[in-house]
């Protein structure tokens, strides 16, 4: 959702008539005469010019490069440009370059700070602690379980993961609602009812994200644990190391790389969770579950400040890269 759905129109919406829809301003008449057909410049009998490093070695990848430029680099560059303007979705037809004003506004905005804080809470609780530990625990336990137990657990956990985000979000909304499934169960058990979506929304959405994303960690860790040679574990057992010690001193160091990789993927995914929170709470009540992606959407599309929303998106990108740098360093250190 980081790119606007429509082609950029730096000229403003008054410009009617069909315009170029891509961000680039290429004009097809730039073709020069000697470039009309490849044969025109390939000398007779030198079929070898297409090998690597030859003068025409770049030709085969130009379409791919063009594709990337038009559909990836273009919109991204356009987004960076928007972040420095005061573009609005409605209420103003002119778009002016405003320098760093959007970023200054963000740092002075208590709602933005609140969103950063909630994003960190959401990421730490649901991804770093929740999905990661639960995934590892499930993977470890499932190694010892019998085949049918393994199959059934696997099916359930993975089902939560393959559900489309919006379906999962509505399921969990129906589960946590004041008149929802969870309260019906609690009522049956004569336990006090809860209203987490209202009273502890950030916890409710964190729990939802754990429920949804644990399968991914579990799969990564299952694969990693299978890589550990049996004889090492066995010799440790002979030396009298208990289960916990074995896990701490042998298993963990051996799957360290998987842990870092998994943490990185999980964190980046969780930082950008939007649909789940939007469908469950809309960032409310108040702004008690308004993480950065929701805040971004609210500013850009509900309050129409597209420029500001995009600037916030860039700041979210910055936070993601900080996390990535930390994890990459973890990956680098030697055992």
């Amino acid at each position: 959702m980081s790119t606007p759905a429509t082609g950029p129109q730096a000229t403003g919406p008054q410009a009617t008539g069909p315009q170029a829809t891509g961000p680039q301003a290429t004009s097809p008449q730039a073709t020069s005469p000697q470039a009309t057909s490849p044969q025109a410049v390939v000398p007779q009998g030198s079929a070898g010019t297409l090998h690597r490093g030859g003068p025409l070695g770049w030709l085969p990848i130009t379409p791919a490069v063009a594709l990337l430029l038009v559909f990836l680099a273009g919109p991204i560059g356009y987004c960076v440009y928007i972040a420095f303007t005061n573009m609005q979705l409605t209420g103003s037809s002119s778009t002016d370059f405003v320098g760093l004003a959007n970023f200054r506004r963000a740092f002075a905005d208590p709602e933005f700070r609140n969103a950063v804080w909630l994003t960190l809470v959401f990421t730490v609780i649901s991804s770093i602690i929740g999905q990661n530990s639960l995934g590892l625990a499930l993977a470890t336990l499932m190694r010892r379980a019998s085949r049918p137990v393994r199959t059934v657990t696997g099916i359930f956990v993975i089902a939560a993961w393959v559900l489309p985000e919006i379906v999962a979000a509505f399921l969990l909304y129906a589960f946590f609602r004041r008149e929802g499934t969870l309260n019906a169960i609690l009522d049956q058990l004569h336990l006090p009812s809860q209203n987490w979506l209202y009273s502890l929304p950030i916890l409710a959405v964190s729990f939802a994200n754990v429920w949804r994303g644990t399968a991914f960690s579990m799969l990564i860790y299952s694969a990693a644990l299978n890589e550990i040679p049996q004889d090492i574990t066995e010799s440790a057992e002979l030396d009298g190391a208990g289960g916990l010690r074995r896990f701490w001193h042998i298993t963990l160091p051996m799957i360290r790389r998987s842990v870092a990789t998994n943490l990185m993927l999980n964190t980046l995914q969780t930082l950008s969770v939007f649909g789940l929170i939007w469908a469950m709470t809309r960032g409310g009540p108040g702004n008690r579950s308004e993480t950065l992606p929701v805040f971004m959407y609210d500013q850009a599309f509900l309050k129409s400040f597209i420029g500001y929303g995009t600037a916030v998106a860039l700041l979210l990108l910055l936070i993601s890269s900080l996390f990535s740098v930390v994890y990459l360093r973890l990956l680098k250190t030697e055992v």
Partner: protein
């Protein structure tokens, strides 16, 4: 071979590839013989009032114009999401519809963005235009003096109350509160004497969006004094007024004393649909500050048919804060049919507007959509006057009604009001603090065009 040749070749290939890639965007499947109409479909799957009406007009239009087609583009979403969606559609000629249903609350903002085309040239030669009442003609008029849409009705707002619950609580069934305190007192009485019902609904918060701002907050605010939101004489928005804080205090009281819906229900984006199709018809709610259009859900064509509504539900006007003159207050809005600036079929789209506004169709929609007529010929139609007992009452509120400031910044102001309401509803902030936050957000939205009032 010149060393530059490969470079030129590569560049040429890139350009060619780019050219072919982007050329695919020019044909969007819209043909000059098809009118594409974007409108909002209710989030309740039982409510298909607009859909059915447009279907019937579509049939007429295609019969009257052989070879021409109408394509309906229903957007099923809550109001905020609908606005965002049509704005994005209108940004590009490839996705712009030919006809769009615009809320008058947003129209000036969209006009300023250049999304809509003026229709004065069409209106000049359209005999029906003279039937529209002056306020309706002004609804889609921009600051440049041009008109950008044809309204298909208007609405007023007041209080619906359930006479059965009032009887149980020992309250009069011809109830007409004189001031805010009367409303709260009635709600407190109901809470005490008829447990299990919700005494009072006032829409609030970011979820219901403009419904909360207009049906809830502005119905209070415009009863506190003159020009409480925008001072047209000075051309400035009002900040820091006592009326603003008092209105927030009213909302705060309703939820602090548990006179309203459960907070999580009240802040639900679908609160309006739930109130009108569930809590009111099932007599779970005693007093509902709502629009004239609430009744459309209880008609046979509505989402929650309820034949007994005409004997069960009473109507009262919203009083001013202390009963000061003129004693009553109402808010009006409405929707218009507009033609996007990037539409390629403006002429055909206009033809469709004419079809939508033949006298027969205008009467039909005004009745089915539970609208308040904005054309004199419709207002005199016996079918309209008999369409429902509420119509007469809500039409009578027109003399007390106010329109929202029709300015491009209004949507952002409205959004800030929604947030202020939400924070006093949840209790995150008191009325004073919430009003202060609103003043700050107002500054972000409108800059220096602010006047401070004690």
């Amino acid at each position: 071979m010149r060393p530059t040749a490969p470079l030129i070749l590569a560049a040429a290939a890139t350009v060619l590839a780019a050219g072919t890639l982007t050329a695919c965007g020019s044909g969007s499947g819209s043909s000059p013989d098809t009118v594409r109409i974007a409108y909002e479909r209710s989030t309740s799957n039982k409510v298909r009032i607009m859909d059915n009406y447009l279907e019937s007009v579509k049939k007429e239009f295609e019969k009257a114009n052989p070879g021409k087609k109408v394509e309906l583009l229903p957007i099923q979403a809550d109001e905020n999401a609908y606005y965002t969606k049509i704005q994005q559609m209108m940004r590009s000629p490839r996705t712009a519809p030919d006809l769009v249903y615009e809320d008058t609350f947003l129209i000036n903002s969209d006009i300023k963005s250049g999304y809509l085309a003026p229709i004065d040239t069409y209106l000049k030669n359209w005999p029906s235009w003279q039937h529209f009442v002056p306020t309706a003609k002004a609804a889609a008029k921009a600051q440049d003096g041009k008109t950008y849409g044809v309204p298909d009705g208007t609405d007023t707002r007041g209080i619906w109350f359930n006479k059965d619950i009032f009887r149980k609580a020992g309250l009069p069934t011809d109830w007409q509160p004189k001031n805010w305190a009367d409303i709260l007192d009635a709600a407190r009485t109901i809470k005490q004497k008829v447990p299990g019902t919700v005494p009072l609904n006032i829409y609030t918060g970011k979820g219901p969006g403009e419904a909360a701002v207009m049906q809830g907050f502005e119905m209070l605010l415009y009863g506190t004094g003159a020009d409480p939101l925008y001072d047209a004489k000075q051309g400035k928005w009002v900040a820091g007024s006592k009326g603003f804080t008092d209105s927030l205090a009213f909302v705060n009281t309703v939820f602090a004393e548990k006179l309203g819906l459960d907070k999580s229900d009240a802040l639900d984006p679908n609160a309006m649909t739930n109130v009108q199709t569930d809590w009111v018809p099932k007599s779970k709610l005693a007093i509902d500050i709502d629009g004239s259009f609430a009744g459309q859900q209880w008609l046979p064509s509505g989402g929650s048919p309820w034949p007994a509504w005409s004997t069960t539900m009473g109507q009262a006007a919203m009083p001013t804060q202390y009963g000061q003159a003129p004693g009553k207050v109402s808010m009006s809005g409405g929707w218009t049919w507009s033609i996007p600036a990037k539409s390629k079929n403006a002429d055909l789209a206009w033809k469709m507007i004419e079809q939508l506004q033949t006298r027969k169709n205008a009467v039909k929609y005004t009745i089915e959509g539970a609208q308040i007529a904005c054309r004199d010929d419709v207002a005199q139609d016996p079918a309209y006057l008999k369409s429902s007992p509420g119509v007469k009452f809500f039409t009578s509120l027109v003399e007390y009604t106010h329109y929202r400031p029709a300015l491009p910044a209004y949507p952002q102001v409205s959004s800030a009001i929604g947030e202020a309401m939400e924070s006093v509803t949840t209790g995150d902030a008191g009325p004073q603090a919430a009003a202060k936050t609103y003043d700050e957000q107002l500054k972000t939205a409108v800059g220096d065009a602010i006047v401070h009032r004690p």
